[in-house]
């Protein structure tokens, strides 16, 4: 059975390759730092599951120190724009085939792998089917791309290095924030926040309670970077005791719109790094808050709409 662990090995090999290419690149003044950063990251993928927790912790701290104190650099890309223009004309729309293979095969794989069994055993771990389908789709797309373009065998890893160094340490930030969320949950941060809200806000009319719940979902999501972490806390602290039990609101409507109020918060926070910070790195934007700034007006108007919707719909019985 293909599990997440196999996909981690693949990621680890890619990171190790990126580290090696970086180490040999004399155009990057900080090549040793880059090699160390991606090399350690590769180790956490390859053998992280078998290392003691504390060793993994020290590996992560070492990565963070390399990136923040020593700093990462970037090699020089020597391909001139005219060469890419010429290549684009030469290959034409065939270039889209491997690119579109990724999303199409990921979707197809997500459906197919759930049903595919060999001797009664699932071919892939069904709990992780989307992630595994994505990994397999990228491998197929890479094979298609290699057959089409016939570049040097080392080209994919060199290109991965170019893009990964363009993203830099931001590539690891979403995973770090997910880890932080787990530690917040362990320390009971959520209960403290809802305790503070109950203590300081006069929650005695339905509109105030609905507003507190929706805004609380958004703010809490901004702090945690994830609406999934905010939902249980706000719903247990304010939603269920006040909206449902005290004022007789409908729990289904409250929960559905409450979660979406949290998503408004996701649009406004650098803590949701994979949605808001990583794209600024990928798109080479100088302002790391550029995407958040575009999203804030939509998020605030939509949060207001959610409060009104919940207020009108949740008590309608």
């Amino acid at each position: 059975m293909i599990t997440l662990e196999h996909i981690y090995w693949l990621s680890g090999l890619m990171m190790a390759g990126v580290a090696i290419v970086n180490f040999r690149d004399r155009s990057n003044r900080r090549r040793i730092n880059n090699a160390a950063f991606w090399g350690i990251y590769g180790i956490t993928f390859l053998i992280g599951s078998r290392l003691p927790d504390a060793v993994n912790g020290f590996l992560v701290i070492a990565m963070v120190l390399v990136a923040s104190i020593r700093g990462l650099g970037q090699g020089v890309d020597l391909t001139p724009a005219e060469e890419r223009e010429a290549s684009a004309r030469r290959w034409g729309n065939k270039l889209f085939i491997p690119a579109l293979t990724i999303p199409i095969l990921t979707v197809a794989g997500t459906f197919a792998f759930k049903r595919f069994t060999v001797n009664g055993v699932a071919l892939v771990d069904v709990k992780q089917v989307t992630v595994i389908a994505l990994a397999i789709a990228t491998l197929v797309a890479l094979a298609v791309g290699m057959l089409l373009l016939r570049p040097a065998l080392s080209a994919p890893i060199k290109e991965a290095r170019r893009l990964l160094d363009a993203v830099g340490w931001a590539a690891v930030l979403p995973q770090m924030l997910a880890a932080l969320g787990a530690l917040f949950a362990l320390a009971g941060v959520g209960n403290v926040v809802s305790g503070l809200a109950q203590r300081w806000i006069p929650l005695d009319t339905p509109l105030v309670v609905v507003t507190t719940y929706a805004v609380g979902m958004a703010v809490f999501t901004m702090i945690m970077g994830n609406a999934f972490a905010a939902f249980p806390v706000m719903t247990a602290g304010i939603g269920l005791p006040l909206i449902v039990q005290k004022f007789g609101g409908d729990p289904t409507i409250m929960a559905a719109i409450g979660m979406l109020s949290g998503f408004c918060g996701t649009l406004m926070t650098p803590m949701a790094a994979n949605f808001n910070i990583v794209p600024t790195a990928l798109l080479e934007l100088p302002d790391e808050n550029a995407v958040i700034k575009v999203q804030i007006p939509t998020a605030l108007i939509l949060l207001g709409a959610n409060i009104l919707l919940m207020n009108f719909l949740v008590f309608r019985r």
Binding site: G48, G57, G92, A99, P151, V189, A227, A256, K293
Partner: protein, 234 residues
């Protein structure tokens, strides 16, 4: 009135994050310090704190699987994928930034509502295809683009991917957030149907569509003004 005791000290991590982001310290460092401080505040010993952080990092590795697309995307970019995406759109006379992004918004929201959330994404779709297409449309309209305008178009392309995804996916009954809501309410003795949760996500999805697409309608005008102001200044 007796107020409940609140152990405010465990909020130390939140404080570190807010201060760190405001002071623009490297976010990796900020998050690490916040994590370690939270561990200490909840009473763990030094080695246990490092262990808890290491364990949390290792179990979150699935977040980074998306980087596996980089070798093939990089290969295609090297062969001119972005240039081709730009060229295709610039052949379409009717293409404007607003129209390109509106079409992507609709496709992304509808496919997400059908559970096809992996049809988009910043590394797979926005960087190699959607942003170059929007830029190609803008070059068609305005000629050479000032850097600020180009960056604004790119940021808008990323925002469309996020907003259409977030407010589409909750209409699909088997998505993570619906399963989480159902599981949590079940634990609290309230049984809800996933289909009901999905139905009540529709009003917000429609509002998101109306709000963001209205804003997109004004984007062309804003870009035109920005380009002409830039031309006057130069």
């Amino acid at each position: 009135m007796v107020l409940p005791y609140v152990p405010v000290f465990s909020l130390i991590g939140v404080v570190v994050v807010v201060v760190g982001f405001v002071l623009r310290i490297n976010p990796l460092l900020v998050v690490t310090v916040a994590g370690l401080a939270t561990g200490v505040a909840s009473g763990l010993g030094p080695l246990e704190v490092v262990g808890a952080f290491g364990k949390a990092f290792i179990t979150s590795r699935y977040v980074a699987i998306v980087w596996l697309v980089l070798p093939v995307i990089g290969l295609l970019e090297h062969a001119g994928l972005k240039e081709r995406a730009r060229a295709v759109v610039s052949q379409l006379r009717a293409a404007t930034v607003t129209r390109v992004l509106l079409v992507y918004f609709v496709i992304r929201q509808i496919t997400a509502a059908l559970g096809l959330t992996s049809l988009g994404g910043h590394a797979q779709m926005v960087r190699p295809l959607i942003a170059p297409m929007a830029e190609g449309a803008a070059e068609n309209q305005y000629g050479k683009l000032p850097t600020a305008t180009r960056n604004r178009i790119r940021a808008n392309a990323a925002a469309v991917d996020n907003i259409a995804l977030f407010f589409g996916e909750d209409i699909f009954i088997a998505i993570g957030s619906i399963l989480l809501i159902r599981g949590f309410l079940d634990q609290n003795g309230i049984h809800v149907e996933p289909t009901q949760l999905a139905i009540w996500a529709i009003p917000t999805a429609l509002c998101a569509f109306i709000i963001h697409c209205t804003r997109l309608l004004f984007l062309d005008r804003r870009l035109r003004r920005e380009v002409s102001e830039n031309a006057e200044a130069a």
